[in-house]
Subunit: 539 residues, 2 copies
Amino acid sequence: MSNSVHVYDTTLRDGAQQEGLNLSIADKMTIAGLLDELAVDFIEGGWPGAIPKDTEFFARANELELAHSTLAAFGSTRKPGVAVEDDEQVAALLAAGTPVVTLVAKSHVGHVERALRTTPSENLAMITDTIRYLSANGRRVFLDAEHFFDSFATSRTYALDVVAAADEAGAEVVALCDTNGGMLPSRVREAVDAVKLAVPGARLGMHAHNDTGCAVANSIAAVEAGATHVQGTINGYGERTGNADVLTVALNLDLKLGLGTLPEHSRAEASRIAHAISEHTNIPAGARQPYVGSSAFAHKAGLHASAIRVDPDLYQHIDPRAVGNDMRMLISDMAGRASIELKGKELGFDLAGDAELLGRVATRVKELESRGYTFDAADASFELLLREELGGRPHFFDVVNWRTIILAAETSVDGEVDTAEATVKVRIDGKKTIATCEGNGPVNALDKALRQVLEGAYPQLAAVNLVDYKVRILDSASGTDAVTRVLIESTDGAASWTTVGVAANVVEASWVALLDSLVYYLAARSDAVPAPVPVGAHA
Amino acid sequence: MSNSVHVYDTTLRDGAQQEGLNLSIADKMTIAGLLDELAVDFIEGGWPGAIPKDTEFFARANELELAHSTLAAFGSTRKPGVAVEDDEQVAALLAAGTPVVTLVAKSHVGHVERALRTTPSENLAMITDTIRYLSANGRRVFLDAEHFFDSFATSRTYALDVVAAADEAGAEVVALCDTNGGMLPSRVREAVDAVKLAVPGARLGMHAHNDTGCAVANSIAAVEAGATHVQGTINGYGERTGNADVLTVALNLDLKLGLGTLPEHSRAEASRIAHAISEHTNIPAGARQPYVGSSAFAHKAGLHASAIRVDPDLYQHIDPRAVGNDMRMLISDMAGRASIELKGKELGFDLAGDAELLGRVATRVKELESRGYTFDAADASFELLLREELGGRPHFFDVVNWRTIILAAETSVDGEVDTAEATVKVRIDGKKTIATCEGNGPVNALDKALRQVLEGAYPQLAAVNLVDYKVRILDSASGTDAVTRVLIESTDGAASWTTVGVAANVVEASWVALLDSLVYYLAARSDAVPAPVPVGAHA
């Protein structure tokens, strides 16, 4: 095994093939930034020329300022019977301007003849020509040998010819793809062994899918057999059953086999980064995900509990802090109090001496969580709760009432886009103020009206802007009767903070979070209380 | 490898350790029946004597009338320093009356000394005594060697002593447990090889957890090295990251290694049974689960779609019908004409001959997706779009206008929960109808009002219910100005379908999806058009 194994992330390209996963350009830019924080070696950004959004992503890629990772564009070899310099798709790959281009090529005769409708020899020429052309234009070229393992099983010679052709033409990596995902580790190992013998000079990679539940194990087996490049996606996103989970693979290589593919400090951020990416894909993070799942180090009371009290390592395969995760004991309020104490400390409140207060806060958090609240991502709402229990939530205004009206777009005239109207009435120092504002939706209109009634007394709120708004339906099996959770992230340009609201009504849930956001800012700017958390602390 | 490998299911015992999973006795009885339909060899029902619910389950087990599976009770070896015939917990195991008793025993010196607080030799005596006693009382005894692999790595001799002691005392199976789940397949194989050499007579089993993402692969590796008994849970339920998914393991053994652990007819029921069990655990079935997930044979990529049109086997690792699943095509901006043609075919429209129509539909899908629509999860909206382009979208009613009013909860009296009111006006055959309804949110109120104005002309809509409602904020970097996408799943009890709506306003987006849902149902129920897709096709 080599100590230098590439970690190649394809979340933005192959991961985006997952059912229900659709990334905007803004999402792709943010995720690329998070992957760079994780310090993966390569980020495959998409297929320029084939997908307009991906072309635009690469056009904006210089804004990313990646510190650790190298950007790769994915595309196909030239078309059959077309000179490589005349191939538009190949031109789009060059135009993407990435240091690396990863070419997908057929390596299975059946696919060459039936899907590509050309000859095996023309396919080899397509591979050779495209690699040489891109190399001559200054690109590092990686080759994804599609259906390699199926081809190896049925027409081994051709499979090996493809690897040899790519290697001779100058491909830096030949990634062997289990495109249909049907492999098991023993077969992967056998195939990689054979390729190492047949094409000893090639740097081999592994691209696995999880159709047998063995994507991670297949990647590890390939590395154990000599591959030095692993491809995968964050949270195992991908078509069908998903790709290999790149974090699980890298953490296994580092923590089980001692390879050091990710720097220690970014391994310690693995849980946070995996969860942050799941916020952008809007696919809930899997609680049972290896290493980074919220249940990955959670123990239910029973056989394990007494042993864990003796020594946590008796029932943990690694120290969860190594991957930024935490051991949790379920059905035990001890863990609850401990984390509340820690969280309070993080926010500048020393709660260690007050067991009664800790118990009260723990009970209230549990009650609110049972109603759908979550404070993991909503520090500002948690801090307001803590202030309330400490008797220190400052009082700035009373809401008398509010309402919103949403009008059918069909009734709007002159192409007017505002379709919602909100009225908010508050009382400040005995004086009532009312305002009505229009917006492109009820939350937008409420936000405007609320600021308007407060701005006379609290002009500092003019600096506050909403930067993120997330909606999650909880218990979605009951249709529109479901409970809605809204998370709102706000900023004043210097700091950012997140608040949460829960209600049957999406507008009411948003209102609760909006209100908390402004109250938090007013409280945090009061002299007696700590400043808001710096921007990035919630990223 | 042996052709006769036990499939041992522990969903009802180890699976129930999962966070958030709580099974009633009725649930356990139903799940046991489903496991028997699947024809697993052994069903571990629980821990009698330790968990009252489990004691009662075994007391009622004769009601199960199992046709294929054998019931096992799980428990521990006798306590240190207690005669086996005086041990209450061992007595409860006998009282459960099962043909098989599976004993868990420590096999790691550190655990024996620190958690059990006894000596390594007393631990061996506990194993020997308990196996002999239960065997003498007519039970088949299996032994779970807890922490076997960790012990093998640190104090190999003792680990092997435990297996030898169990084998000599008459245990029919010794299952090697990766209790903390930290193993990789190559290490499992190495350990099983060593045990086969040291204790050649023992029948070995594998009990894997998924903490490295390798539970399935570790089970397969053990079988390849000579184990003939695999333990796991349906859907991989279990503490932390879960146990080995017993179905994925068995299907890999059968369909990849040709072992025949499950009869062919029950393999063909695998998807249905896995989903039925997830209804009883109330944990939503994972779409990306190998073999049985609803996405396991779903294809999105344009690259794949054109090849699938030629031959579906080019992009499938098995025929999905072998496991009771189905191939599905997803529509997305990555998809070209080929996937639209295939999707049309799936929905009952022959579009093959009409290149111009296919191009028009592809262009429109791409345009809508650039505005935030997604069709890969919204077949019904896609079908309506297709009907429009075919000139066949039936016309049922015109919306004149609609509005909703949301009132602050603060103004409600008598604890009234309805905080939203909606008014909808439609025109049907020249006649205007208007209705106003209240609801716990704007979408709920709009849904009620819309049905009320339509029910006179279309009484069949009374059968339609919303079953799922999902909200996604797109480009959420712009706060409440962001675009909102809503997916609504509806059912009439026999079929289910999903529609999509996109707008700046969450209520308007919901309205679009609601409207499509009812129009789709009316269209699908018209004689001239195909019936809605059966339940399960979208499960």
